[in-house]
Amino acid sequence: MSQTVLESLNQAMHRMMQEDERVHLIGEDLLDPYGGAFKVSRGLSTAFEDRVWTTPISEAGFVGVAIGMAMGGLLPVVEIMFGDFVLLAADQLINHGAKYAWMYNEKVDVPLVVRLPMGGRRGYGPTHSQTLEKHFLGAPGLAIVATNPFVDSGQLLETATRYDRRPVLFVENKKMYARRQRPIQGGRCEAMAARISAGPYPSVSLSFGGFETADLTLVAYGGMAELAVEAAERLLIEDERYCEVVVPTSIQPLEMDAIAQSVARSGHLVVAEESPGAGGFSAEVISALPAAAWAALRAQPQRVSALNLPIANSTALEAATLPDVGDLLEAMRRVLPASSSRSATG
């Protein structure tokens, strides 16, 4: 049985703090026995008492402190309790940490990681359920990395913390913490053919039909990745259509290679995100499609996103607000031409 995403992240924190004394952890309610709101930080304050800074409720202040620590030779990891609270630190991230390396003519680095538990579907209501990293799209100098169960989440966090000189927003998903890692081995991930791109923040491509046959490319990241796989499976069972799911982890800068290659094969594109669509990830993917992939498109790309509303407390309202497997299927059926249906042609 593989690890959960939560275990993978927690063990990576232990490993990094064991191996590199420059790694410090900063955030709210980190001390054991509580160990952080979602337990990614459990055990760390016991093992590394001097390097776990449990903070007052001061997101702007302690994100800025971490920026200074990073400039001063440490490798700070900030835990934002609920990702929603990162907006309190937006000035520190955009006007300070993300600018310094370039603005100071590369005289300094800000090797900072800010971990953001994002996402809904857990009934936390309007200010504790959002997927807000889209508001940092277009902030120069600020990297956004989002993990998912198909990559080694702990390794991804370690790359961001120990090998990346940029300030990185590391997006986790609250619903995903309890999910098991679904490792790719020998070109397979369970019943799917699987590819993982090279590079520090890989994109994963998954297909129930292998990569020779593709009717459609479905792009999803973070918390939407597993829903996309589920939708791809249903599309195969119910419609006998082959969907390639492409899951990037480098959201800013946006890694487009795997997406472009898949679209060039499939000719149809649906992009999904958990936040409302305007000015977001899907819009960025669609406008960043290279010419060759665009030329291969046989229908207008579709975007699947949340309704443009706060996320309600009520389970019924929350579920209707956030994009689900049904929404993905509907968008895929909208974009695929009915005439070429395999079931129809037998």
Binding site: T55, S58, W102, D109, A143
Partner: protein, 337 residues
């Protein structure tokens, strides 16, 4: 692994700037050295404003005229390894810290040889442990983080952050006073209270006591009401060392006055108030302590130096636009082994 090696580098090979040692090595008696430094700041700012009027510079600037005694009084006590985070009104602080008028002038003119290659300009400079940014109060957390990093690494260093009376409106300042006290940060917050936040007088925006705001968080706090460079220098000598030895944060308020406009052509303060405060001009005060002959020699040397600095800066090319690639792509770590 290439990426691992990069991140493993201890620190960048930056110039070690040591203002205290430089001040000690300057020639002449103490009073003359302070006057020379202040004269350099004053004339740099005046020449800058004059060049703005001639259209040689774009954007804006915030002159330090009237507050020169603060910079020389504080920064001459700092040594290699210490750091300074300054604000929009940073030229005076920098000239004492780095003493490079040509590189500062070039930066303000957006030239390639500027302190940060023309990328930052007046409010966004960096040189060997000296940083500035143009967001009120936003610099305080970074200064606190730097001071804590120094402490964690066992360095015997202090961080100094310069704020103004206007900055007292920013909430993040109080988050930082709280954390600095909780965590025992070697952080000296120097509050230059010049009585005005842009066009708004202090009494319209600061309620209660400046000092008690810091004391409420358990910081030591003190104040000096002076524009006398020697008084401020003597006042801060013990304070900087106290922060260094105690490894505790401190707020120190200097009640001073800005004799110029906030930025450019935006001075609506009562003329009689400004006129009355001209008696507090720190430069004549310090000049009185220097012989006429020495003062004239210092002034001549400053003029020569600034003329060369501005001319050399003006002769520099604009930075190459070839550098405008996405820093996120350049900073990405290599493939993991």
């Amino acid at each position: 692994m290439v990426a691992a090696e990069r991140k493993g580098q201890p620190e960048r090979d930056e110039e070690r700037i040591d203002p205290r040692a430089r001040f000690a090595q300057m020639e002449g008696p103490h009073s003359e050295k302070l006057y020379a430094q202040m004269r350099l700041i004053r004339r740099f700012e005046e020449q800058l404003l004059e060049r703005f009027d001639r259209g040689l510079l774009v954007g804006t600037t915030h002159a330090y005229i009237g507050q020169e005694a603060d910079a020389v009084g504080v920064i001459n006590h700092l040594r290699a390894g210490d750091v300074v985070f300054s604000n929009h009104r940073c030229h005076g602080h920098y000239l004492v810290w780095g003493d490079k008028p040509e590189a500062l002038a070039a930066e303000l003119m957006g030239r390639s040889g500027g302190l940060v290659g023309g990328r930052g300009g007046s409010q966004h400079i960096c040189d060997g442990g000296f940083y500035t940014n143009g967001i009120q109060g936003g610099i305080v957390p970074g200064a606190l983080g730097l001071s804590l990093a120094k402490k964690v690494r066992g360095e015997d260093a202090v961080a100094v952050v310069f704020i103004g009376d206007g900055t007292l409106g920013q909430g993040v300042l109080y988050e930082c006073l709280n954390m600095a006290s909780l965590w025992g940060a070697p952080l000296l917050v120097v509050l230059e209270d010049n009585g005005w936040a842009q066009s708004t007088p202090s009494y319209r925006e600061v309620a209660g006591s400046m000092l008690e705001r810091a004391r409420a968080f358990g910081l030591e706090a003190g104040e000096i009401e002076s524009t006398d460079a020697e008084a401020i220098y003597n006042h801060f000598e013990g304070i900087v060392e106290e922060v260094r030895q105690s490894v505790r944060p401190r707020l120190e308020v200097i009640h001073t006055y800005r004799l110029c406009h906030h930025s450019r052509s935006d001075d609506h303060r009562p003329a009689e108030e400004i006129e009355a405060r001209r008696a507090d001009d720190p430069l004549p005060k310090q000049r009185q302590r220097v012989s006429e002959e020495r003062a004239a020699a210092i002034e001549q040397a400053v003029e020569r130096r600034l003329q060369q600095a501005f001319e050399a800066a003006e002769a520099q090319p604009q930075p190459s636009v070839d550098q405008l690639d996405d820093p996120l792509l350049r900073g990405m770590p290599g493939p993991q082994s």
